[in-house]
C-alpha cells in the first residue's frame, strides 16, 4: 500500500491554497496517495469559479497586494491553481468536501465543482484517511 498525505484545507486564502496543492501534487509525484479535506473557508474554493478567488492571507490590501503577487508569480512561471488542481486530479488525488460546512454555510452540491469531488463526508472521513497517513497537515 502506498503511503498517504492527508491535508485539511480550512483556509480559503490564495497563498494557503498554493501550499496545500503544491504539497499535494508533490506527494503524488513522489508516489504517495493524497486526500484533501476541504472545510470552512477552504470549501469556498471548490465553488464554481472560486479556485483562484481567494485573498492573500497577508498584505492583501483590498486586492492590490494580490495583484502584485500574481504578477510576480507570473514572472517566476508559477503554475496557476487551476493547473495544479488539474495535475492533482490527473495523478489520482482525492477530494473530500465537508458536509457540515455545506450545511451551515448553505452550500449546495450544484454550486460546487462536483467533477473534482470524490466524496462528501464528515470528520470520520478525515480520520479514516489521516490514520493511514505519514503526513497530515492543517492549512
Amino acid at each position: 500500500m502506498a503511503d498517504r498525505t492527508t491535508i485539511v484545507v480550512a483556509s480559503g486564502d490564495m497563498d494557503k491554497l498554493y501550499s496545500a496543492l503544491i504539497i499535494a501534487t508533490g506527494s503524488l509525484s513522489m508516489g504517495m496517495d493524497v486526500s484533501l479535506y476541504f472545510t470552512f473557508w477552504g470549501l469556498e474554493r471548490l465553488k464554481k469559479g472560486g479556485l483562484e478567488k481567494g485573498p492573500l492571507s497577508k498584505m492583501h490590501m483590498l486586492g492590490l497586494g494580490k495583484l502584485f503577487m500574481l504578477s510576480r508569480m507570473k514572472k517566476a512561471h508559477v503554475a496557476t491553481l487551476e493547473r495544479l488542481m488539474r495535475d492533482f486530479k490527473e495523478l489520482g488525488g482525492k477530494i473530500i468536501a465537508c458536509e457540515m460546512t455545506m450545511e451551515i454555510m448553505g452550500v449546495s452540491r450544484q454550486s460546487l465543482r462536483e467533477d473534482l469531488i470524490d466524496e462528501y463526508g464528515a470528520v470520520g472521513a478525515y480520520i479514516h484517511d489521516a490514520r493511514q497517513s505519514s503526513i497530515t497537515l492543517f492549512i
Binding site: 503544491i22 501534487t25 508533490g26 503524488l28 509525484s29 508516489g31 512561471h77 495535475d87 495523478l91
Partner: protein, 73 residues
C-alpha cells in the same frame, strides 16, 4: 523501448516534479524518460522521487541551473 523527453526549462516548483511523474505514468516499464530543466531545487528533488518510486536513476548531468536527468521506468 521508447524514450520520452520532457522540457521543463523555465518552470518552477512543483511543475518539473509533477511533469516527471506524469511522463513516468505514461511510460511503459523499461522506457526511458529524459527531463531537461533549469530549476535548481528540482535537480535535487527529482532523484529523491526516483528513489521513492523505486525506479532507476540513469544519470544527472549539467549544472543546478541547466540540467538533464535520465530515468528508466
Amino acid at each position: 523501448m521508447a524514450e520520452i523527453r520532457i522540457d521543463v526549462r523555465g518552470e518552477t516548483c512543483p511543475v518539473p516534479l509533477v511533469e516527471m511523474r506524469k511522463a513516468l505514468r505514461r511510460a511503459q516499464p523499461g522506457d526511458i524518460v529524459e527531463i531537461i530543466g533549469t530549476h535548481p531545487a528540482s535537480q535535487k528533488e527529482i532523484p529523491m522521487a526516483v528513489e521513492a518510486l523505486s525506479l532507476e536513476l540513469l544519470s544527472v548531468e549539467g549544472t543546478p541551473n541547466d540540467w538533464t536527468i535520465r530515468i528508466r521506468r
